[in-house]
Amino acid sequence: MSVEPEVPIVQVEEVRENPVLYKIISSDNHVFTISEHAVKLSKTLWDLITNLGLTAENALDNPIPVENVNGKNMETIVQFCERHKYDEEEPEYTNYIREFVLPEWDRQLLSIDNEELFQLILATNYLDIQKLMDYCCRVIGDMAKDKTPEELRIIYGIPTDAEDDALERSASDSPGPSG
């Protein structure tokens, strides 16, 4: 069951209010523009920008290629970063079980197909965006609420022991790279 997210389109004005903009090219050659405050949410991108020595003057002339993230995920990521660029930094959590309120806007943004969500997490992990990672993980964690092991097996696609064993056997039976 998939629900089409009603994600507000990022307003150009919102992006333009910051004079420093960067260009990012996704693996499928889509180009995105992202503000400096927003891009700082991604540790990977910001490190890259710093290391490349990109400045306000040359930023738009030097698009940053991100080969591990496709255009669809990059769009979500840019929307998320622009939305949360002025958020205050959250204190490190100390509880053993994490709990926080997931804002409705973000819940809508993350109401996507499981496969897309999986790819989004991989992209978020690669780009090292802690807040988006927290939100994605919260959505995935919530899937386990009040579920039985059998339900969890379906939700999380967990193979049974027999399937695991069969997989292991077939892996050990298959010829290696040499043979």
């Binding site: 053993y96 994490r98 992990n125 579920k147 059998e150 969890l152 379906i154 939700i155 999380y156």
Partner: protein
Amino acid sequence: MVFWTPDLKSDIQENGKPFKVMELPLVALRHVADFWDPNEQYQLSKTSKKSKEIIKSIIKKRPSQLILAVPSRVVLAYSATESFNFDVPFYRDNMLELEGYEGVLPEFPDDCFQIINDLKDLFGSVFKRFAFFPTWISWEGLYRIVDLINLDESLPIIPAITMNTIRNNRMFLKILLENLEKNVQSFTIREMERSQKSLKIHHNFEIEDLYVENTLSLDINAFTSLKFSRAYLYNVNIASEEINEILMSWKMGRFGDKMELFYSKDVEVMDLRIILTKLYTDKTNGPNGKTATINIYSYQSTNENDPIPKESIQEYKNSRRNWNEIVGNNREGPHWRGISPDLQMEENPLKPWQDERAAMAQFIFLGLNAFMGGLFLVATLYNYYKDEKETDSDISCSKANGNVVKPFKVMELPLVAFQQVADFWDPNEQKANGNVTKPFKVMDLPHVAFQQVADFWDPNEQYQLAKTSKKSKEIIKSVIKKRPSDLILAPPSKIVLEYSDTESFNFRVPIYRNQFYKDYTPGDHPRFSLRFPDDCFKMINDLKELFDSEFKRFAFSPNYLSWEDLYRIVDWINRDESLPIIPVITMNTIKNNGMFLKILMENLEKNVQSFLIWGMERGQKNLKIRHNSEIGDIVVKDTLSFDLDAFTSLKFSGAYLYNVDIQSEEINEILMSWKIGRFGDKMELFYAEDIKVIDLRTMLNGLEAELRDPRTVKRNTTLADGSPGWLCGGIDVTGVNGMTATIWLYSYQSTNEDDPIPEDIVQKYEEAQRNWNRIAGDDGDPVRDAIVVDTHLNITFE
């Protein structure tokens, strides 16, 4: 009881007005009554008192007997071939059902007896027999029935009891026999099989004839702890060693004084040497001077003066000559001798037992593979409704006819069922129904991402995930942040993982209901599947492993745990090697449920460090507990009427009573019990808080207590705050084993041995010493000093 709806009522009165049968002339009514069977007669008699009288007057009386097939049937038997069954109605406790437990039925034994009395009255029947089926009645139900049997004044002696297989269910026999207070004329046990544990039975009533039938491995422990006059074994596989054990038991005085006969049919081979081991005379004498005579090498005649056949005399002479070889040790091989006694048991005129058993058993096979069949049906229904939906014309047609078919909301099915329904769909149908089979493969996430997801799972979710596969378990285990935690088992359905007083998580033990029992038996037995205690302990072991927790406590709630389940849990505890000692047991109020404590303690084989009982209330009956395990500290709290009998039959090192209404008479009884050697050797401390008034004269009555001088008698002790110190003075009572109980009254506690004794303490002591006979003895009027107003009482034993 039938509740008629108005429709049903109008159906029944189809022809308009009722037929007023009771207004028929007597002759006509008699003719009508000839067409009613006893069940119909009984139902009619219940309509009103007048009907009952009329029915009673027209019933053709003939000899009949009543059998109560506990719990749900009363049999009215006219002969071996003509009998009628009356079902006992039963009720379920909806409140308990809501709590997730099978209902308990407080009315049911009363209903059994009500029906019996009604039938006795109506048909002039005589009560003949209780037929117990251990599989069909809970131990609580049995206990309540036994209680009613004891209370029933119309039944001074029980004519017959029959009981089906008691394999692995000897607690049933124990509960029955230890609580029954009436003598039994005939007691038949089918399949009295030995099980894993030996259970001794201490019963006070007497059995005249004990019949044991169809047994492969006789439970000799249970058998030798029964008291009977005659025992008859039919088709019981009994070995010579066991016959020897029976004779030895008799020789030691078991079976009671009235034992007259032991008879065993179908014994294939007997080895006299084994049978007579350690008995080694032709007449075996018991300690009471009685003689047991074995009917081998003997001759039975009708008259005293009948001549003895020559063969018998010859046989005797041969045996006499070889006697040492037969029973002694001076030959190499054993001497085998086969016998086949010809004593026949009198045939029971009523043989409905087999029929009852068959009737009970006929319900056993129910609904195999019903779940998968149901799913297939759901899938078919779904397809059917889908087709219906697609055919607009059909819908409009059915709407026009007013037959709107409600859609089957397949999307609202539980996920697992939905997934299985989806398996019946073709790929196109699956696609049409959206994201049915696309899981989020959480285990394939990079470790860092997975760790972050895991941070959002509470222990319950982590545990559920760990159960999906071995691999998941290992992965989950690796991401759980370990910290000290304790596990509490609150059987039957809850395990608590406790990190601190304020942070704990409940784990529900899955409950499997046995639909057959639920729908059929009037009781709570068994509430859960046979796997249930295993599930509890498996869950504990899983949680221990997953969270590195320690097992801390069993929390028993007698109201929510059947005795059978308790027994099975105790059995599990005994067998669990990872638990050499039980850290803590807590138990909720046990008012009128002393049997719960008895079953727990008498079957527990492991020592308990701390045992806390809330509300150890006295019940209607005195129950002595004979237990072998040891309790470190027993703590009793919030008790209005202290069950002294149960308390004084426990063995413990320390007892702590908080908010327990205990009187001086009861403290006296505790001290008397200790004096005669109860509580075991390890008793060190008795402490009671919240005592308002202590009457020393009552408390010390008959104890020969002595008052000690605080200036001269000083003992090393542990003070109330746990620090080492000195107890100076006090009141001493000497026990039979030479130990001393010291009551901390008229005493002084100091940190150092040489601390000076305050003057007021010395004065109090001297005054009490002067009046000691009036305080602790019965010389003259009691003095004011005999009354102590204090908040607590401390008695140490050394």
